[in-house]
């Protein structure tokens, strides 16, 4: 019981990080129908930006942890957004209207570019960072097994929930969100109603990249080590989460992320760590066989 509770806490924390990245995949897919394979690498860039920012702030003598985290969050999100915008502008927009696979191949190329860029500029070695928020609270003690809720986990879950709340407000309540949803449903019609579709697509990439950067910061805080390759694995997991939740559905992406996180953690805890990815992807396959549109995805019904 205590053991399971501990796994639940760990799984939710991990799932939040996956969910944040998955939102970026699902948004871009919803609006232009392409899988942005470079998204995982934007997440990795976000993690590196966070580390640079935290070390820089420490060097300038800003030691207040909440302040440093807030500044880092803004810094990483802003610069990663710039990366997201640039990638879309350079690698995807010129290919819009080309055949379907073209932007996909371009995205794989951008993924390699970003990985190599970080590898060359930051070095290939694994970068460790000391824990910013050590300690935690002991929730219960059962037969010698103590259930720990670390401050880090609390910070990750709270930050993610706040960011997702702001994001949900943006999408459902603002004019920008309405035009994003309009573009998602019918890009051409949205253009005919005066919406600048190119700009809306750019903003989608910017928002997705900002969320990925937040996830990057969370990842850095949680694991304390990053390298130039983390974007690939996390990206594939988050993509899986987006598909599992129903690609194109924003709440689906978060639910999918949580599920993947929980599956991974519980499988590692009760069966074997080595096979955790096999478990996550097997569940994906099973879900897609029985629910091809994912958990919250809607089937495209063409009315005539």
């Amino acid at each position: 019981m205590a053991y399971a509770l501990q796994q639940l806490i760990n799984g939710v924390t991990l799932g939040m990080i996956y969910g944040l990245i998955a939102v970026g995949y699902t948004m871009v897919y919803g609006i232009i129908g392409m899988i942005n394979f470079a998204h995982g690498d934007i997440f990795m860039v976000g993690a590196f930006l966070s580390m640079i920012s935290l070390l820089g702030l420490a060097a300038f003598g800003i030691t207040s942890v909440p302040l440093a985290l807030a500044l880092t969050l803004i810094f990483a999100a802003a610069i990663a957004s710039l990366y997201g915008w640039t990638v879309e502008r350079l690698a995807y927009r010129p290919l819009r209207g080309s055949f379907r696979l073209a932007p996909l191949i371009s995205a794989i190329g951008m993924s390699i570019v970003l990985q190599t860029f970080v590898q060359v500029s930051q070095g290939a070695r694994v970068k460790p960072m000391e824990a910013l928020l050590p300690g935690g609270v002991q929730l219960m003690d059962q037969g010698g097994f103590a259930v720990q809720l670390s401050w880090m986990q609390v910070a990750i879950v709270i930050t993610t929930l706040v960011v997702l709340a702001v994001f949900t407000w943006l999408v459902t309540r603002t004019s920008l969100g309405r035009s994003m949803r309009a573009c998602e449903q019918d890009l051409k019609m949205a253009g005919l109603l005066g919406i600048d579709t190119d700009r809306t697509i750019s903003l989608t990439f910017v928002i997705g990249a900002a969320l990925a950067a937040v996830a990057g910061l969370m990842f850095l805080l949680y694991y304390g080590v990053i390298d130039f390759y983390i974007g690939f694995v996390a990206g594939v997991k988050a993509f899986t989460a987006a598909v599992l939740g129903g690609i194109g559905s924003l709440p689906g992406a978060v639910i999918g992320g949580l599920l993947i996180g929980l599956i991974e953690v519980f499988w590692s805890a009760y069966f074997s760590v080595q096979y955790k990815d096999v478990a996550a992807f097997s569940i994906l396959v099973i879900v897609l066989i029985f629910m091809p549109t994912g958990i919250l995805g809607r089937a495209d019904v063409e009315k005539v």
Binding site: L176, R178, K188, R298
Partner: protein
């Protein structure tokens, strides 16, 4: 009042060897309802697609003149500028509402530009420093007026896809009107409507004209066309075969011949190729 709003000059659209529109010239005047009619495949929808930026015409020009004298060469503007700057709105033969959004949201999306300008393009809105709440209230107010006009006030918060067919048609027109157009292009708005819905549509279109927006209309339902049009242009095989008031067009022997299929050579259904 009746000055020239839209001047189409030598408009030509070729798809490979097929001339869907062939050196077509006509004028639509401000404050009028202009109908474009013709048999299937005459090139009516292609003309619309050229006017609203869906196609780049092979040749010729489309000039729109606002009441204040501002001029726009529509064949050179990208689609969203045609809506935003030249203020031309259109609907399609098939319904293209944002089915997953509510009825009200559909009308608000069309007012996106005014709203975005008021938010300082999103940045100020986050800081709560803008005229956004005021602008949004005005946008909702405008949407409410149109909901009243089309009789859908009760259903404002339902998904647009759940409305009956006739209501979806009216909502599309209301949505197009929310971009505040000077010219509204309607592609077969009466298709599939029952007689009662057709009457409601007529009333709506006459109201729009009374409010000062001109209308360009493609329609097969002659009841609608003859009752509300001020001016009719008849196309056949991409060429204009008649142009005038409903009475003149009805009496024109060319029109009768085209509709009864007299003397038809090379029947190529252009619109099937296009669509």
């Amino acid at each position: 009042m009746a000055d020239e709003l839209l001047e189409v000059t030598d408009l030509t659209m070729r798809f490979g060897g097929l001339r869907a529109v062939d050196a077509l010239s006509f004028v639509a005047r401000r404050g009028e309802i202009t109908a474009v009619i013709g048999p299937n495949g005459a090139g009516k929808t292609t003309v619309f697609n050229c006017i609203t930026g869906f196609y780049r015409p092979t040749g010729g020009g489309v000039l729109l003149t606002h009441a204040d004298g501002a001029r726009f060469a529509l064949q050179r503007l990208p689609g969203h500028r045609i809506a935003r700057r030249a203020r031309v709105a259109r609907t399609f033969q098939n319904i293209r509402l944002f089915a997953g959004m509510t009825v009200l949201e559909n009308l608000l999306v069309a007012q996106h530009n005014t709203l975005m300008a008021a938010t300082g393009f999103g940045i100020l809105a986050v800081l709560g420093l803008s005229r956004y709440p005021v602008a949004e209230r005005q946008a909702i107010e405008r949407a409410r007026e149109w909901l009243d006009a089309i009789g859908l006030t009760e259903r404002a918060d339902d998904p647009a896809g759940a409305l009956p067919y006739g209501a979806q048609r009216r909502l599309e027109i209301a949505r197009a009107m929310c971009i505040d157009p000077v010219l509204l292009c309607l592609d077969e708005p009466a298709a599939g409507l029952n007689p009662r819905e057709s009457d409601e549509l007529n009333r709506l279109l006459l109201r729009i004209r009374a409010d000062g927006c001109s209308i360009l209309l493609i329609e097969h339902d002659m009841g609608v066309v003859m009752r509300i049009s001020d001016h009719i242009i008849v196309l056949d095989h991409g060429r204009k075969i008649s142009d005038g008031t409903p009475e003149q067009v009805r009496a024109d022997p060319h029109v009768i011949a085209a509709y009864l299929g007299e003397g038809d050579e090379d029947e190529v259904p252009a619109e099937e190729v296009v669509a």
